[in-house]
Symmetry: C2
Subunit: 312 residues, 2 copies
Amino acid sequence: MKYGFGVDLGGTTVKIAYFDTDGNMLDKWEIPTNTTNNGENILPDIAASIQSYISANNIDRNTLIGIGIGVPGPVSTRGVVNKCINLGWGVFNIEVELSKLTGMPVQAGNDANVAALGESWKGGGQGCENVVMATLGTGVGGGIIIEGKALAGVHGAGGEIGHMVLNRDETDTCGCGKRGCVEQYCSATGVVRIAKQFLAKSDAPSCLRSMENLTCKDVFDAGNAKDALALEILEQVYAYLGEFLANVCNVINPEVVVLGGGVSKAGQCLLDGAKKYFDQYVFHAAKDVRFALATLGNDAGAYGAFKLILDN
Amino acid sequence: MKYGFGVDLGGTTVKIAYFDTDGNMLDKWEIPTNTTNNGENILPDIAASIQSYISANNIDRNTLIGIGIGVPGPVSTRGVVNKCINLGWGVFNIEVELSKLTGMPVQAGNDANVAALGESWKGGGQGCENVVMATLGTGVGGGIIIEGKALAGVHGAGGEIGHMVLNRDETDTCGCGKRGCVEQYCSATGVVRIAKQFLAKSDAPSCLRSMENLTCKDVFDAGNAKDALALEILEQVYAYLGEFLANVCNVINPEVVVLGGGVSKAGQCLLDGAKKYFDQYVFHAAKDVRFALATLGNDAGAYGAFKLILDN
C-alpha cells in the first residue's frame, strides 16, 4: 500500500491529512496559517509539519506518492498561484516550491475546486464523474468536475458560479463589486438579506420579527415551524437557487449537484425546494440530475487535495 | 502522411470532407440525408459515399485513420446516440454501426460540440484549448471546449447554452417549452422578436417600420445606417448577449468566445457590443477573454468531426 498527504490551506488554519491510496483518511491535524511577511512561512511550515509527522511515525519515504494541496485563490493547471489575497501571496509556482521543500511530488488546485473533487470522490457525489458542487456559505463557491477532473479554467477561475448574474436589476453591490450575483441570494448572508427585505416590505406577522440578529438558520427554523412569512422567504430562495443551478447544469450536464456550506445544513427541504424550481428552468436534455448534500464537511478539501496527487 | 474523413450529418444534407492529418481539407462533397424509414439508410449511404470516394481516388486504406462524425442530437462519450429527432433515430451506438459498415474506426459527437471543436482547432479560436462557442442562428447552439476536448455532458447535453434562462419574467414560450431562454433574445429570430416589441411599444420613427418581413439583417443594417430605434434595439440585444456570455464564462473561464451563425455576420459591431456588457457582468478573475467571429462557416462541423478521430 502507498500513502500520501492532502492539504487544505485556508486563511486561518492549514488542515493536513494522511491517506492511503484506497482513499482512507488515516490521520488529520491542523496548524495555524502564518500570513505575516506576505505569507512567506506558510509553505515552510507545511513542509516542517509533514516532515515531523513522517519522522514521528517512522514512515518509509518510499511508500509516499506525494502531496496534494488546495489553496484559497486561482491556480493554473501548471501549478502557478495567482495572488491569494488572504495569504499575502503574489505569483509563483506552488508545486515547484513545495516540492523543493519536501522532496515529494506536489499537485495544487483551487480550494473550491479541490473540495468539489473530494465530494465527488468520497462524499455526496461519490461514484459520479460529472459533478457540480455549490458551497453555500458566507459567500457562494463552486467547483465543477468533468470526467473526474476539476475544471480549472484558463486563469484558474473555472467554476466561479457564485458570481453568475441572477438579477440584472439588483441595486445592492456584491462583495466582488458587481451587482446581482448568485452570492447575493443563495449564500447564508443572502438568505438573511432576502428575509430582511420581506420583513420590511410587509406587515405580515412572523416570529422572525422579534429576532435581533437574524441568521440563516433562524429563517430555516421558522420555516420548519410553519411560519408563513419564513416559508415565503424560503420559496424565494429556492426559486433563485433552482434557476441558478439549472443554468449551471444547462452548460455542464452533470450527473449530480452537490450542495455544501452552512446553508446546506437545512437538509432535505433545501434539496427539495431547489429541485422544484430547477425542474422548471432546466433544459429537458439535462434534466436528469440528482441533488445531494455534501457529506465530508471540513474534510472535503483534504480528500480532494489527496485525490489530485493520486490522479497525477 | 495519413488521412481521414470528417462528416457533418445534418437533417437535410450530409457534408463529407477528406483531410490529411495536418488538418488540411483536401476535398469535400455533400449527399442528401434520407430520413425515410426512421433514417435507416443514413449510415449505409454515408459508408457507400466514402467507399466510392476511396475507390475512385485509389486511396490506400492503410493510410486512413478513420471517420469522425457530428450528429444533430445528444451523443454520449461512448458513442451512443439518444434520439436524433430530425433523423428519426432511436438509441444505438453510432460508432459501432458506422465502423461495421466502413471497416474503419469511428468517433462521434454532437454537431454543435463538434463545430465548436472545429472552430477551436482551425477557426476563430485557433490556438486555444479552452473555448466557448455560441452559434447564433435560427436558434442558439453552443459548444464548450475544455483542454482541447468538447464537453459532452453525461447525457450528451453539455454546452446547451442556448437554453439557459435569461429572463424569468418572459411570457412567450421558447421552442424548448420553457420561457425566457437565451435563444429567445440572442438568435436571429430573437433579434427580430425584440425589434417588433420595440416598434410596438413606441412611436419613434424608424426605417424598420416600413419593412414587411423584418429580418435580423435588416435590424443590423438599420443600425449601421444610424437609425436611432435600431440602435436602441441592438443595445438591448448586446446587453442580453453580454450577460449570457458572462454567465457562461463565469462557469468555464475560457480563453476565447467564438460567435458563429447568421447573427454573427453582423461582424465587429456584434463583438464590440456584446463585449461592453460582458465586461460589466463577468467575474473579475474570468474577465480576460478574447471575443472572435467564427471563420469556418459550414465547414466547422467537418473540421471538428475529423479532429475527433485525429485525437482518438
